[in-house]
């Protein structure tokens, strides 16, 4: 019974995370300024990573967590590089 409720709550969480990804994608496509798009991208990668972690818990395999760590690190570097580009006009001076 407990595994059934766990699967149900994980499915509900995945549904809500998918809706959140849709909202972030809307902001990426619609954002009037570049900063709005970068904020949307930041939320999108965080939400995708959380979705991957829920898949990892649901399937019981460890490989998803390493993928989630990689997504978190590379997404952070990408967002900071985009912010640096908006600030200075180039990433590596």
């Amino acid at each position: 019974m407990s595994t059934l409720v766990l699967a149900w709550s994980l499915t509900a969480a995945q549904f809500l995370l998918g809706l959140a990804m849709l909202c972030a994608t809307f902001r990426i496509l619609r954002g009037p300024r570049a900063q709005d798009r970068v904020v949307g991208f930041d939320t999108l990668y965080v939400t995708a990573m959380l979705l991957l972690v829920t898949f990892g818990i649901g399937l019981g395999t460890a490989i998803y967590f390493e993928a989630a760590l990689l997504i978190a690190l590379l997404g952070f570097v990408g967002t900071v590089a985009l912010a640096k580009f908006l600030l200075r006009g180039e990433v590596i001076e």
Binding site: L6, A13, L69
Partner: protein, 107 residues
């Protein structure tokens, strides 16, 4: 695993995904960039924190919990850094925050 821990883990997972959705809805509904960054930080702290805590209860002691803790620590560092960098670009481009009323004239 006792039933109380299971129930706490389900509640934390559902609450975390709810707060993630709240942050993303704020991203859509908020009027300007500063309030949108404020809404996006809900996803980084409340949403990710509650979800990861719920999954740590589900995973028990082990390497998985350590990875989830590293992930949470990473979020608690990178969220403010990203918000700060983006706010700096907004100030660099002289984007004014949207105010409810006109600010009093500086004298």
């Amino acid at each position: 695993m006792s039933l109380a821990v299971e129930i706490a883990s389900w509640a934390l997972i559902l609450a975390g995904s709810f707060f993630t959705l709240v942050g993303a809805l704020g991203l859509v509904r908020m009027p300007d960039i500063f309030t949108r960054m404020h809404a996006a930080s809900v996803t980084d702290t409340a949403g990710a924190g509650l979800l990861i805590f719920g999954m740590m209860l589900q995973a028990g002691f082990g390497l998985t919990t350590l990875k989830l803790l590293i992930l949470l620590g990473l979020f608690l560092f990178t969220g403010p850094v990203v918000t700060h960098a983006l706010a700096q670009t907004c100030l660099h481009e002289k984007i004014e925050p949207l105010l409810a009323e006109e600010p009093a004239a500086a004298d």
